[in-house]
């Protein structure tokens, strides 16, 4: 039995990550090259404008902060541990994470309710959207549950998950860090891999094309089909 579990761990935590990462990169790049038109946030604000605010805004702010937290714990685990060495600072980090996790959940529930409660929005909800909503709900609910039932995540992420993730990127997956983790955390990790794998097939691709050049380009855009004359303006 134990052998079987370790075999399962191998498949899910040592093989699957590479599969999903490979899918993510390959499909994203190919989709961008061949189906550029399909890169869109597919906003539904035109069809429903009121609930849109109360759902989309909390969700996006929540998920951005939560994602930034995960990223920091992955990139600078030592600094996080140093920060957490003082209990008060640990509390601050934990409470912030939980608060933004709940904000994400509230926003996500709002998004699902908005979709279900409006006949116009059902028209623009594809099967991929439905799958995505289920996966995201699972991810956010399990994430909030982890924060509640497995506290001090900012510290144990840094000591066990960060080394595991780094081992993946070094192409020497080291499962010793995670085999003993509670099933809830494993579920959260597993679901994250699935989201990454399905990412390029869904509307999530809009994250890849967030408009950064806007912040430094000139206000007016002119395109010339022939050679452009001197451009002073």
């Amino acid at each position: 039995m134990a052998f079987l579990f370790s075999y399962l761990d191998m498949v899910l935590f040592a093989a699957l990550p590479y599969l999903v990462l490979f899918t993510f990169l390959l499909v994203s790049i190919q989709r961008y090259r061949l189906q550029t038109f399909s890169f869109s946030s597919l906003s539904s604000q035109l069809l429903e404008n009121r609930r849109h605010f109360w759902a989309l805004v909390p969700f996006h702010y929540g998920i951005l902060v939560v994602f930034a937290g995960h990223l920091m714990a992955f990139l600078i685990p030592r600094s996080i541990l140093f920060w957490n060495s003082h209990p008060l600072r640990l509390y601050v980090l934990e409470v912030t994470g939980l608060a933004f996790g709940i904000l994400t959940l509230v926003g996500l529930l709002g998004m699902v309710a908005r979709r279900l409660g409006n006949s116009k929005l059902r028209v623009v909800t594809s099967r991929a959207d439905a799958v995505l909503y289920v996966l995201l709900l699972l991810q956010v609910v399990s994430g909030v549950a982890v924060a509640v039932f497995q506290p001090w995540g900012s510290s144990w992420f840094a000591t066990s998950l960060a080394p595991y993730l780094w081992s993946l990127f070094r192409f020497q997956p080291d499962l010793t860090y995670i085999t003993g983790l509670p099933i809830l955390i494993k579920l959260h990790i597993l679901n994250a891999f699935i989201v990454v794998g399905l990412f390029p097939f869904t509307r999530l691709v809009h994250i890849l094309v967030v408009p950064n050049p806007y912040l430094w380009r000139k206000p007016q855009v002119v395109r010339w089909y022939g050679p452009a004359p001197r451009d002073i303006a």
């Binding site: 038109f37 007016q220 395109r223």
Partner: protein, 496 residues
């Protein structure tokens, strides 16, 4: 001087009969697809009225266009800093309810209905959901309802009218309306382009047509809110913005855009103007009262030696310069000053100009009798049923003088032609009117000809656009052999 060429337009409102042929021509060609049913790239509004989308001119509500702040202009709706907070939810974006929910009818029911005591009816069906709906509004819902308390009264251009003037506009015997056809203005300083986070919107360098790059558009929705004329639309099906393309595939093959071509009243003129792109920013920043003159000043004389030299230096082909010299738009806007930009106070410097309409005269003077004898030859313009203030709000950035000038000149030309052809008014008075309206006889004849006798070729002076040459210079045409038009390998659809 940085000379650029731009396809520009004039709509002569005095000739518009409000038939919506332009709207239908456009709809049939461009917006009969899924997701675009509610879009009218060309629509005809009744003024006074709320228009489409309802109250689009009210920028307190929609926050379109530019505003002056600290001596510079900035977008009212969004900007570099504000995009970060507004990208998840655009606070100023209209919803479909501001336009209307598109519908068709259940025609099949007329054939399939079971036998019964009543005639079957074709119930309206939403073109979004396919469900039966109650129609609440449509794109020209207030058609001809100039004096209505629901639509006419809520026209944002009524601002500044006296109570007496408002009463006149809405009393049953004196109500008045005129038509206001609208397409994208292909502005010199487009707010939609400036607002796009993805840089998907752009102005074509050669002809100034403003387009949305469908492959770059990511549905951040900034343009919808930023355009003060509400002429960028969101395709809810493909998740992309779309707008009037001035029928560029037709223009490039020498044909007039569909709405222009089909215009029954022949109100539409199209031609090239040359303008100085270097001074553009400064002009958009002028005080409100100077905007109209500033924009006119930006438009360059295509016969001036310096301008010609500048055009040559910027690689503008001689044929385009020649088209600019024959441009009816240049005459209407710059030479005769008859055509005025709509709401130039939005500071996008629209390149579609309107000749303001003549209106019926007030008949309630002198105890209900029309007083047509007056020393003031232009009394009927001052006493017109459409108050000058209203027209000034719409076309003059609030300045009545600009509108009055255009109307007086129109009247003088009419009077002069009446004296010449009918002869029931005295020629001397007509010539005096021309003088008072700042118009020579030669100019009057030119206005008359381009207004009344104009041929297709005079109304639409379309230069060769050399797109084939431009494309061939960059790409071997054989490369795109067998691809499905415009570089798409498959038809546009939603998501992957």
């Amino acid at each position: 001087m940085n000379v650029r060429s731009q396809i520009s337009m004039v709509f002569h409102l005095d000739k518009c009969i409000g038939c919506h042929t332009c709207s239908i021509a456009c709809k049939n060609i461009w917006t009969d697809r899924r997701g675009t049913e509610y879009m009218w790239w060309n629509n005809v509004e009744t003024k006074p009225g709320t228009g489409y989308p309802a109250k689009w001119e009210d920028q307190e509500k929609f926050k379109g266009g530019w505003e002056k702040q600290n001596g510079k202009i900035r977008l009212k709706s969004t900007g570099k800093g504000r995009i970060v907070t507004n990208i998840f939810h655009n606070p100023h974006m209209p919803s479909m309810d501001d336009y209307y929910e598109p519908w068709t009818y259940d025609y099949q029911h007329l054939f399939n209905a079971p036998e019964g005591p009543d005639q079957p009816t074709a119930k309206p069906i939403s073109m979004v959901t396919g469900d039966y709906i109650d129609i609440e509004s449509g794109p020209n819902w207030d058609d001809d309802l100039g004096g209505s308390p629901v639509y006419g009264k809520n026209d944002p251009n009524l601002e500044g009218l006296t109570e007496e003037q408002k009463l006149q506009l809405f009393s049953i015997e004196q109500l008045v309306f005129f038509y206001f056809p609208r397409i994208c203005n292909h502005c010199m300083n487009p707010a939609c382009v400036a607002s796009c986070p993805s840089g998907a919107l752009y102005k074509r360098g050669e002809d100034g047509i403003v387009l949305v790059d469908q492959k770059r558009c990511r549905a951040w929705r900034s343009c919808i809110a930023a355009c003060p004329y509400k002429k960028v639309f969101f395709n809810w099906f493909t998740g992309k913005s779309e707008k009037c393309i001035l029928c560029y595939p037709r223009l490039e093959t020498g044909q007039a855009p569909a709405c222009f071509h089909s215009c029954v009243g022949r109100i539409r003129y199209l031609g090239v103007v040359l303008y100085d792109a270097d001074r553009l920013e400064a002009v958009a920043n002028l005080p409100k009262e100077q905007l109209i003159d500033g924009q006119r000043d930006l438009i360059l004389d295509p016969t001036d030696e310096h301008v010609l030299e500048g055009a040559r230096k910027n690689g503008i082909p001689d044929s385009v310069v020649k088209a600019a010299q024959e441009s009816p738009v240049y005459q209407f806007v710059k030479v005769w000053k008859l055509a005025l930009p709509p709401h130039i106070e939005f500071r996008t410097l629209p390149m579609l100009f309107y000749v303001p309409p003549m209106a019926p005269v007030m008949a309630n003077r002198k105890n209900g009798a029309l007083n047509s004898v007056s020393d003031n030859l232009f009394h009927d313009i001052d006493d017109a049923r459409v108050p000058m203030r209203f027209l000034a709000n719409l076309f003059g950035a609030g300045q009545e003088g600009k509108v009055a000038y255009a109307l007086r000149k129109q009247k003088a030309v009419r009077w002069y032609r009446r004296a010449v052809t009918v002869g029931d008014v005295d020629l001397e008075t007509a010539e005096r009117m021309l003088r008072e309206a700042d118009c020579t006889i030669k100019e009057a004849m030119a206005i008359y000809e381009l207004t009344s006798l104009c041929t297709f070729e005079q109304r639409f002076v379309i230069p060769p656009m050399y797109r084939e040459k431009a494309l061939e210079a960059l790409r071997d045409p054989h490369e795109v052999k067998q691809s499905a038009g415009f570089g798409f390998l498959s038809g546009p659809r939603r998501g992957m």
